[in-house]
Amino acid sequence: MRSLERLTLAHLWVAFAAFAVACFFGTWQMWARSPLPAPFVTPDHYFLSVTAHGVSMAFVLTTFFIMGFGYFTAETALERPLPGKAWAWLGFILALAGTLMATAAILSGRASVLYTFYPPLTASPIFYFGLVLVVVGSWIWCVLMIVAMSQWKRAHPGAPVPLAMYATVANAVMWLWTTVGVAAEILFIVLPASLGWIDTVDVGLTRTLFSWTLHPIVYFWLFPAYIAFYTMAPQAAGGRLYSDTLGRLSFVLLLLYSLPVGMHHLFMDPQQSTGFKFVQMMLTILVSVPTLLTVFTIAASMEIAGRLRGGRGLFGWIPALPWERPMVLATGLSFVMLFFGGGGGLVNMGYGLNAMIHNTSWVTAHFHLIFGGAVVIMYFAIAYEIWFPLTGRIASSLLAQRIQLWLWFCGMMVMSLPWHWLGLQGQWRRVAQFDYSNPIIAAWGPWVIVSLVGGLLLLVSALLFIWNLASFRRRPFTAIASFRFAVAVHPPTRVPAALNGFGLWNVLVLFLMVAAYGWPIAQFFVLEAPQAVVHRVDRGG
């Protein structure tokens, strides 16, 4: 096995191991919230589980997957060795050590603060140090991606950077911007509190800093799915990408508009004024533009493929597509979940509508459909797609892969559609147990059991996914094949400098961040800001 394959597989296996464990936690949480008697239910266990599930899914699965997939993309799309492989391994080791530290803190019950931290709750310092190491590991990845692209550009002056790599670097640049908020929160407020150096924290400031990170981090997770839509799905369908330029534009707009919008997570918070919330709501509307561009471009690409395969008429190209291929199937299922999840998201981002569903199961349903559904199903499809070039072995059963994808889709829909309904009725999230004997909420019980069934389908699907990957081992080794990303209908020969680098977009991001977050953060240092007492969860309150 060559070093790139070893590096990529190491990252992906850590990601998927964390994913599988987290699925058990998630299913148990649904059971605990349902009217059915679940084992081990105490509030302590519940919040430990929510923390473990959130950290594994949101930080470990995503970060390791994105790093591994990024290294793979850098070498295959640029067709040259990845620079600084030793650094890449250092990043992996740091992130792995950090993951193990955070895991130990969580499982010992000293870090039940959820993955979003919620100061003034304060966990064991080991938890925060662990997460800092994961982020440092990801920063190394960012630098390596940027260096890889710069070296390639120097060697190919004027040539357009391959779309897959351009998108990967867009994600790396965005991640560097994204982590500024949470890094400031952890290093200057949460860690000092955890170490006992300060007794009070400014909750308004910490929540504002976390909101800086909280929206673009979701786009960090989403990028691989979009990269697969643009550079893998058209190829898998037997067609070509409709437009390379629209792809670049979408990735650039994601970088630009995912950052200055995090305050839509704070609509109900008192520390920010209505004016800045309104401005960020307006900017949030723009985030839908790259997604709509993507839906258009990918649908057009699929139509090209369907017509090449003999599809006729207005919709005849749809059944003509090769749905038996996991990448095509996953793209279709992902779009369906994107439709429902995106619709829910439009409600979340409306300043007025948000008040209806704030902190209810609706929000949980939204991010499970978008991230757990539309994005993670593409992680599966990417893994299936690149496992052959990585291992030199072909899949033992495409049917098992399709069953796994369908199970995931059905499980996610069955689990999250009732959550939307329950959220509208006011079922709150982040609560361990419900008193179903109370007539006001008794009618929720059956719907929670339906979501538990969805959760069980997801668990079966997750285990089948691991089994599918492991079963590659049972096939004979053929050869390490090179991997090809999708080609555009009109492959670009020259693109504007603005769409071949990130200088312009970094300047605009800086402008937008100063406009959106300048005063909202500065106010905590200018005006008198109330402090809250640190509440330690690692020392019995």
Partner: protein, 277 residues
């Protein structure tokens, strides 16, 4: 990366910047001026006040006048966890605290905070926050007790913090669920889970180790049985009412008499987790 000299690339800079800046300007005009003046007018606010509120320079919503009430709020407790109080509890005058404890408190609560009389609670095992909260409430009349009321009358905030910190430093601990090996299963269930059908949360959700209760939540493990019984009964009848948000009164009124007795017995018997022992 510097802007490219090509005319086409310069166009990208010009147009992208123009679009982004215009959008922000339009959003800001709507957010801080246009909408606010309209909202302020209907709420009876001046345009200036509405704009200041939308910027966060003045408190309040630009869409509501926020009527002020003439009646004075009457908090159940006057304790405020200000950084000054917290700092004093963490860095007390040790000598001062020990002196007050020996001269005033020890006769009823014991020299080491272990009370010789079943009517008086142990101080041992309580946090400084828990003790300070009760002393402060006695002093302000939020909690009424003849003996304690007259004793704390002459103590100032710093002295109360010193003596609270003194007792909390003697032993540290909280109910450790691992020490529960036996006991009436109904009571254990009440402590761990509560009774959701009657709207009673588990005691351990606030009073347990690693629990999420407020900072002043007292430790119950190992406390005097008679004292616990008296307090739960007083919360149930409303005679004691210094619990913020009605928390303990709400719970105690839902408990049956026999459950109160069993809980007092349970907590008095449970072992305290004392790492310093």
């Amino acid at each position: 990366m510097a802007p490219q000299p090509h005319a086409a690339d310069r166009q990208w800079w010009v147009w992208s910047t123009a679009i982004v800046v215009s959008f922000v300007v339009i959003a800001a005009l709507l957010a801080f001026v246009v909408l606010r003046i309209g909202q302020g007018q209907s709420a009876g606010l001046s345009a200036f006040a509405a704009i200041c509120r939308s910027l966060g320079l003045q408190a309040g919503s630009p869409a509501a006048r926020q009527p002020s009430s003439e009646s004075k709020a009457q908090p159940v407790s006057m304790v405020a966890w200000t950084p000054q109080v917290i700092d004093r509890l963490h860095h007390p005058n040790v000598k001062n605290g020990a002196e007050i404890a020996a001269n005033i408190c020890a006769s009823c609560h014991g020299e080491n905070g272990v009370s010789p009389n079943p009517q008086f609670p142990h101080m041992s095992g309580q946090s400084a926050f828990a003790i300070y909260k009760q002393l402060h409430d006695f002093k302000n009349g939020a909690r009424v007790n003849e003996i304690m009321g007259s004793i704390v009358e002459n103590l100032d905030d710093e002295q109360m913090a010193d003596v609270a910190a003194h007792f909390s430093a003697l032993t540290k601990g909280a109910l450790d669920p691992r020490t529960i090996s036996s006991g009436d299963p109904d009571v254990v269930r009440l402590v761990e889970y509560g009774i959701s059908g009657r709207g009673i949360p588990g005691c351990a959700s606030c009073h347990g180790a690693h629990a999420g209760g407020p900072i002043e939540t007292p430790t119950l493990a190992g406390q005097r049985q008679e004292y616990l019984l008296a307090q739960l009964t007083a919360f149930a009848s409303g005679d004691r009412h210094n619990d913020i948000y009605n928390r303990m009164r709400g719970i105690a009124t839902k408990l049956r008499k026999d459950e109160i007795e069993k809980l007092a017995e349970y907590y008095a018997a449970v072992r305290l987790f004392r790492p310093q022992d």
